[in-house]
């Protein structure tokens, strides 16, 4: 047993991290936000050139992908990253790996089915219990959501989910896609959680009240420590799920993925909220980035089943 990332994995993660810092600094995210979350084709191409969508074709494993997606989550990189990765990996969708085709994935859901980044998609995948259907992005009748909670994730809401498109995956193959999508979403949630912690800790060291850094107050220390506790626990579950899904573990992969998604979802929302609290009034402003993590955490929780859905499934199997 050696449950620690290898040097190669750490180097891969480090490489993605510095790419994200260079390509998606906060200034760039703010510009994207001001442009209603529209995806710039050249930026998408740069993400593809980093190898994000072609990881598996390039010989990397699921746990490598998990480490990469943790970094993408940490940097709040916008766009249907998991969907395009899944299309390249599970469907060999033309142009997905190279970044020429932007692929979105929507789950047929209650009470509403929404399509993220609809205006920028080339292909839409629709996932429901029967499998995965592939269609044109405008195949469904939709309305624009005027004020999405997270402006970096623009939405359209489908008012009727009609049959149509071409069934491209079903049965075990569709399940495998769903499982990997769930894991990589959990990885992004872990990244979001850690990024909120970093921002909060940095603020707690610099902000002074009562003549000392607020990080000197135990109340603030404990908020930060609580965040780290939840995030590290979730990260452990997520790494375990990645390794099991890769076939290098002893537990049922689906179970471990569910645990990861449940805990990572809760951790990301908790860390997002607590990160805002550490910032005081600043945390409640648009300008300060603490709220952006909370908003992304909210969006990601709804992908591939929210925390409650996974808890239900875990309970059903107990």
């Amino acid at each position: 047993m050696d449950f620690w990332p290898t040097d190669d994995q750490l180097a891969l993660q480090e490489g993605v991290r510095s790419f994200c810092q260079g390509r998606f600094p906060f200034d760039t995210l703010h510009e994207i936000e001001a442009a209603n979350g529209r995806i710039e084709r050249s930026a998408w191409k740069d993400i593809a050139d980093m190898g994000v969508f072609s990881l598996r074709n390039d010989g990397f494993g699921v746990s490598d992908a998990a480490l990469v997606f943790e970094e993408l989550g940490r940097a709040l990189v916008p766009g249907p990253l998991v969907a395009t990765y899944l299309a390249a990996t599970h469907l060999s969708e033309a142009g997905a790996a190279s970044g020429d085709t932007i692929v979105g994935l929507s789950e047929v859901a209650e009470p509403v089915t929404v399509i993220e980044h609809a205006d920028d998609l080339d292909v839409l995948l629709l996932l429901d219990s029967s499998g995965l259907r592939r269609m044109a992005p405008d195949a469904l009748p939709t309305d624009k959501v005027e004020r999405p909670v997270e402006p970096l994730t623009p939405l359209r809401v489908a008012h009727a989910v009609t049959a149509g498109g071409e069934l491209v995956l079903s049965g075990d193959a569709a399940r495998a896609l769903r499982l990997e999508g769930t894991l990589l979403t959990a990885a992004m949630q872990v990244g979001v959680a850690f990024a909120s912690i970093d921002l909060a800790v940095e603020y707690a060291k610099g902000r002074e009240q009562f003549g000392r850094p607020i990080g000197q107050f135990q109340a603030v220390k404990h908020m930060c420590a609580d965040m780290l506790t939840r995030a590290e626990v979730a990260r452990s579950a997520m790494y375990a799920a990645a390794v099991n899904l890769e076939g290098k573990g002893e537990d049922d992969a689906e179970h471990t993925v569910r645990v990861a998604k449940m805990l990572a979802g809760d951790a990301a929302i908790f860390c997002g909220k607590t990160g805002i609290q550490v910032h005081g009034g600043m945390g409640f402003t648009w300008e300060v980035n603490a709220q952006r993590y909370w908003k992304r955490a909210t969006v990601l929780d709804t992908h591939f089943g929210n925390s409650d859905d996974h808890a239900d499934a875990i309970a059903a199997a107990m």
Binding site: P111, E146, P148, F210, I276, Q277, T298, D308
Partner: protein, 395 residues
């Protein structure tokens, strides 16, 4: 202890209800949240209606133009206006609940004669210029400087988080008049006309995208010395006097809104289906909502205890301190439960697919500010542990 209302309280409620039924149909629809001119007109228009009917300054003493109502009547007033969906106090908040009471306690007759009627009639909107970029939880460390120059104070510095700063006429402002004195001893309370020359007001966006608070910059702004309330350098005490006016009613409207949110969420849960059954059939969700609903009942009982204590003793005790911590917690839990229930319908600030979801999403965001505004939860807990429980101070 008796939770039943007295005959005179019931009569007060009946009279108020009758009046609300009569006037509410003539109230125009609520303006858009970022239509500040419209909102000002709406809020102050309602205040004028209250004034004409004798309900303005419900808790203010009669001699200053108020109604002199008891804390219980104040509670009834808030309860009925909220239940019947009358406009909320809105931007009259600072004038009616903060600046006004301070003026009543500390201002000169001349200041009272001019300002109190302005607040009661909805002619003047006030804002609160206390917090600064460097002085939030540690309010007494504020640095916005005022020099005495003849009959004026000359103010330089800045304030932040000034809610409704861009629509207000006056600001209750704390300035530093003696930088050499210990921090609580060099502060002065001023009435600042927001139209004074040298004031630059820049709206700040909240995380929801609303521009309800502002940064305010002061470049040698002149304010006459006669606008000072209380003595020079005695502003901290003047500020604290207002806190004693709080009779446990501060969160009544909020609480009623929360109860409605829980009821609405329950209705939604009975309608919305997930995986083939309604959300309400989910025992976990039902239990969570039941806990919340029970906690709200308990906080409502706590509110009544606090109000009764204030009625008896003139001041709210420990119950007032724990209220906000408990309420913040509850609202944040409610927010997260609503999100799990609405799932992807929680991703829009507006209603989605004909479901009344927008208010739950906005409520979930609002909940994040409750633990920050007017004393953060951490500071509240310090107060509870040190002032209520007598634990040694860590400062």
């Amino acid at each position: 202890m008796d939770l039943r209302y007295t005959d005179s309280e019931l009569a007060f409620r009946e009279e108020l209800r009758a009046w609300l039924r009569e006037v509410l149909p003539s109230v125009p629809p609520e303006p858009h949240r970022n239509d500040w001119e419209g909102r000002r007109a709406w809020d102050t228009g309602w205040q004028r209606m209250l004034f004409d009917a004798g309900y303005a300054g419900i808790n203010w003493p009669k001699e200053f133009g108020g109604r002199g109502a008891t804390p219980t009547e104040h509670l009834i007033f808030l309860e009925e206006t909220e239940r019947m969906r009358a406009p909320y106090v809105g931007m009259n908040f600072v004038g009616l609940l903060h600046a006004g009471p301070t003026l009543i306690a500390e201002a000169t007759d001349e200041q009272k004669a001019y300002h109190l009627p302005g607040i009661l009639k909805g002619e003047h909107v006030w804002c609160q210029g206390f917090s600064e970029p460097g002085a939030g939880s540690d309010l007494a460390s504020l640095r916005c400087r005022a020099f005495r120059d003849g009959d004026d104070y000359v103010i330089s510095g800045s304030k932040i988080w000034t809610s409704f700063g861009h629509t207000a006429d006056y600001c209750e402002m704390l300035v530093r008049t003696d930088p050499d004195a210990p921090k609580h001893k060099g502060i002065t309370w001023l009435i600042l006309p927001m139209k004074a020359a040298g004031i630059d007001i820049r709206p700040l966006r909240t995380m929801e995208g609303s521009t309800e608070f502002c940064e305010v910059y002061f470049d040698e702004v002149r304010v006459p010395v006669k606008n000072r309330v209380g003595d020079e350098n005695d502003g901290w005490r003047v500020t604290m006097v207002t806190l004693a006016f709080e009779r446990g009613t501060a969160f009544v409207s909020e609480m009623l809104q929360s109860m409605e949110l829980v009821r609405d969420l329950t209705d939604l849960a009975k309608k919305v289906t997930r995986h083939g059954s309604t959300a309400w059939e989910d025992a976990g969700l039902r239990r969570d909502l039941a806990h919340l609903s029970g906690e709200l009942d308990a906080l409502w009982a706590l509110t009544k205890r606090n109000i009764s204590e204030a009625q008896r003793k003139g001041l709210v005790g420990a119950g007032g301190n724990v209220f906000k911590v408990a309420y913040t917690d509850l609202r944040q839990k409610l927010g997260d439960i609503s999100m799990r229930l609405l799932d992807r319908a929680s991703l829009s600030l507006d209603d989605m697919s004909g479901l009344p979801t927008g208010k739950h999403v906005k409520g979930r965001i609002h909940a994040l500010s409750i633990g920050i505004a007017a004393g953060t939860s951490q500071v509240q807990k310090n107060i509870v542990s040190e002032r209520v429980l007598g634990l040694p101070k860590d400062r």
